[in-house]
C-alpha cells in the first residue's frame, strides 16, 4: 500500500512533508533523562558504552528533566519513588516519551506477588510508549525498543488527533 492509500482509508488526510521533517527531527535526537534505578540501569549504561553505543542514534544523556525528551525507567519502581517519577515526568516539556525497560517497570517483575513496596508497573503512574521486556533486557533489546519508539514517532502527525 502506498502512502496515499494508507492515509485515505484512515482519515482522509495526507501526511505532509512538514510532518515528515518534524517527525524526523524528533526521532533523530531523542535526548534521554538519566534515570537508572536498579539492575536495568547497568544494562542501560552498557548500551551507552562503546560496544552498543546509544549516541549513534542521537541519544545523549541530559541530567535535567527540562532538557530531556525521553525517560527510560530502568529498574524496580518502589511506591516511594513513584511519586518522584511522576513529578519528574510532569517537569519534562512536551513532546515527551517513556520507555519502560525491564520486567520491574513493566509489571512489577519478580516482586509482583510479595512485594508490598513495589509499584506493579510504571504505567500505573505515567503513560508508557514502549515496553522492553527482559530481566534485565540485553542492550540489543533496549536498542530495539528505541527503534520501535522511533517508528512510532515517525507515524505521528500534527494534523491528526493523537489517540
Amino acid at each position: 500500500m502506498g502512502i496515499l492509500d494508507k492515509e485515505f482509508t484512515e482519515s482522509n488526510i495526507i501526511i505532509t512533508k512538514f510532518d515528515d521533517l518534524m517527525n524526523w527531527a524528533r526521532l533523530s535526537s531523542l535526548w534521554q533523562m538519566t534515570f537508572g534505578l536498579a539492575c536495568c540501569a547497568i544494562e542501560m549504561m552498557a548500551t551507552s558504552a562503546s560496544h552498543y553505543d546509544f549516541d549513534r542514534f542521537g541519544v545523549i544523556p541530559r541530567p535535567s528533566p527540562r532538557q530531556a525528551d525521553i525517560i527510560i525507567i530502568s529498574g524496580t519502581v518502589t511506591l516511594k519513588m513513584a511519586l518522584r517519577i511522576k513529578r519528574l515526568y510532569e517537569q519534562m516539556p512536551e513532546p515527551k516519551y517513556v520507555i519502560s525497560m525491564g520486567s520491574c517497570a513493566t509489571c512489577g517483575g519478580p516482586y509482583w506477588n510479595h512485594g508490598y513496596h513495589v509499584l506493579k508497573g510504571i504505567d500505573r503512574v505515567i503513560p508508557v510508549d514502549v515496553y522492553v521486556p527482559g530481566c534485565p533486557p540485553r542492550p540489543e533489546a533496549l536498542l530495539e525498543g528505541l527503534l520501535k519508539l522511533q517508528e512510532k514517532i515517525r507515524n505521528e502527525s500534527h494534523v491528526k488527533k493523537q489517540v
Binding site: 511506591l79 516511594k80 513513584a82 511519586l83 506477588n113 513496596h117 506493579k120 500505573r124 503512574v125
Partner: protein
Amino acid sequence: MTTTEILEILKEKFSVEQFEIQSNIGGEILIVPSNVLLDLCFFLRDDERLAFDSLMNLSGVDLADGEKKKLEDGSFEIVGGHLATYYHLHSFKHNHKLTLKVLLPRENPVVPSVERVWRSADWHEREAYDLFGIVFEGHHNLKRILLPDDWDGYPLRKDYKVQEFYQGMKVPY
C-alpha cells in the same frame, strides 16, 4: 570469651537470675529483660575485659508465638506472643562476639534505645521501628526510614496485610 564466661563477669554487677542462655546453631544467645538493657550495654562497652565497642547488627524479629485468630476474609491475625530485638556485638580489642536478645510483648513493644551507647544503632532502630513497630524509647528521631512516611502498618510482622491503595496507586498486583 564464651557467653558463659561473659555471664560470670556480668554476675558482678547485675542480678543475672533473669538472664538466660539459649543455644543456637550459630552460637549462644543471651536473653535479657528490657529494663536492664541500657545499663547492661553501657557496661558491656565500657568494661575492660569485655570492651564491646562495635554493634554489628540490631534487628527485630516477629516470633509469632501467640494465638492465630482467623478473620472473615481468610487472613489471620496474631494475638499475644512476643516480638524480639537481637543485638550482635563484637569487640575489636579482644576479638570476641556476643548476641543479646530482648523479648517484647506484642501489644506494646517498647524497649530502651541503645543509640547513646553505639551510634550505629541509630538507623538500625529506625529500621526495626519501620518494619516491626518496635518503639525505642529515648531515640532522638524515631521515624520511618525505608518506607514512605505515611505508610500504614508494619510489613515484616507475620500477620501484615498489604494495603489496597497508597496515594492513589494500586498496590497489589
